[in-house]
């Protein structure tokens, strides 16, 4: 049905894919390539990478970019001992600093306080 790796996100040189966000993402102009590097994307396929593998890789990158775009500004939080994780409203903070959407931080801090859990925000 809609398995990853199906064609549709192959790349800019394939004109049929240019109406997809993925194709636009990887079809960077030279101006966009700095952004692309920052995001860890690569429009150029590896020499031995077939189309299915490349499509799967680009899908993964697209998902990451979509998640970043949707999250907006993020704050890094971690949970302090004796706890190892704290979950609120579908967001989980672990022992290591975890990206949390900035808009969700206040509610998460209040919930942590109510639960007797200490969260630490990374200093910038």
């Amino acid at each position: 049905m809609t398995e990853p790796g199906q064609p549709g996100y192959a790349g800019p040189e394939e004109a049929g894919a240019t109406d997809t966000l993925a194709a636009r993402m990887v079809g960077e102009t030279q101006d966009d390539q700095a952004d692309s590097a920052a995001l860890g994307t690569s429009a150029e396929p590896a020499a031995d990478e077939d189309l299915s593998a490349r499509a799967a890789r680009l899908e993964s990158e697209l998902a990451s970019v979509r998640a970043q775009a949707a999250a907006g500004e993020t704050i890094r939080l971690k949970v302090e001992a004796p706890h190892i994780a704290f979950v609120h409203n579908g967001l989980e903070v672990g022992e290591d600093y975890t990206e949390v959407p900035a808009r969700a931080v206040q509610a998460m801090m209040e919930a942590a306080s109510d639960s007797g859990v200490k969260l630490t925000q990374e200093e910038t």
């Binding site: 809609t2 064609p7 997809t20 190892i84 704290f86 579908g90 007797g116 859990v117």
Partner: protein, 202 residues
């Protein structure tokens, strides 16, 4: 001389449009992106973006749209001259069969938090759900299969879990169930149905 024959010729119906089958219910923090069109039917694409699958249900998922209307009438005409929508509610309901703290919290308003403590010397590992009546909004997506075998997705960007939750602890009669009632609280024009109709051309 007789006129033309009187033909009874109703239109054909389309049996392949009669659909059945379960819907997969995902929830996520408000604002979470949905997968790309190509991946709307791929479960891992949803979970990879932060959507949580509610898991097994007792009797599937039910979507209920319930508008109430106000007839506009005039003395001179017995039938209404217009009908205005006064209220409209959209609910997604199901009975969660998987008793996890995440599901308990979701059914009980999604206001609680889970704190995880690892096992240590003299300390068993534990997870504690602390409840709250400060219900948190959540996004919902219901993924079904259309007549072509592709994904058909109902997306409701903002809902609140607010419904009576009654769970029976029975020896053998049934599993413990957590009725979930999700009420849409977003403008109606933010709610979408997306229907995949053909694979990409290249």
């Amino acid at each position: 001389m007789a006129g033309p024959p009187l033909v009874y010729s109703p239109p054909n119906y389309t049996t392949t449009n009669v659909l059945f089958g379960i819907g997969i219910l995902f929830t996520a923090i408000v604002g979470t992106a949905v997968p790309s069109d190509q991946n709307l039917g791929v479960g891992s694409s949803w979970t990879g973006l932060g959507w949580a699958y509610v898991g097994a249900t007792e009797a599937g998922v039910t979507v209920t749209f319930n508008p109430t209307t106000q007839d506009l009438t005039i003395e001179e005409q017995p039938t209404p001259v217009g009908v205005a929508v006064s209220t409209a509610t959209l609910q997604v309901t199901c009975s969660l069969s998987e008793e996890t703290l995440t599901n308990v919290n979701l059914a009980w308003g999604n206001g609680g938090s889970v704190a995880v403590t690892p096992a240590g010397a003299g300390q068993p590992g534990k997870s504690v759900l602390t409840l709250s009546t400060n219900f948190q909004q959540v996004a919902v997506a219901l993924v079904g299969k259309n007549q072509l075998g592709f994904a058909r997705v109902l997306s409701i960007p903002t809902v609140v879990s607010a419904g009576q939750v009654q769970t029976a602890y029975r020896r053998a009669a049934q599993q413990r169930l957590y009725p979930l009632t999700l009420n849409a609280v977003c403008p109606f024009n933010q709610i979408t149905w997306t229907d995949l109709t053909a694979i990409a051309t290249s």
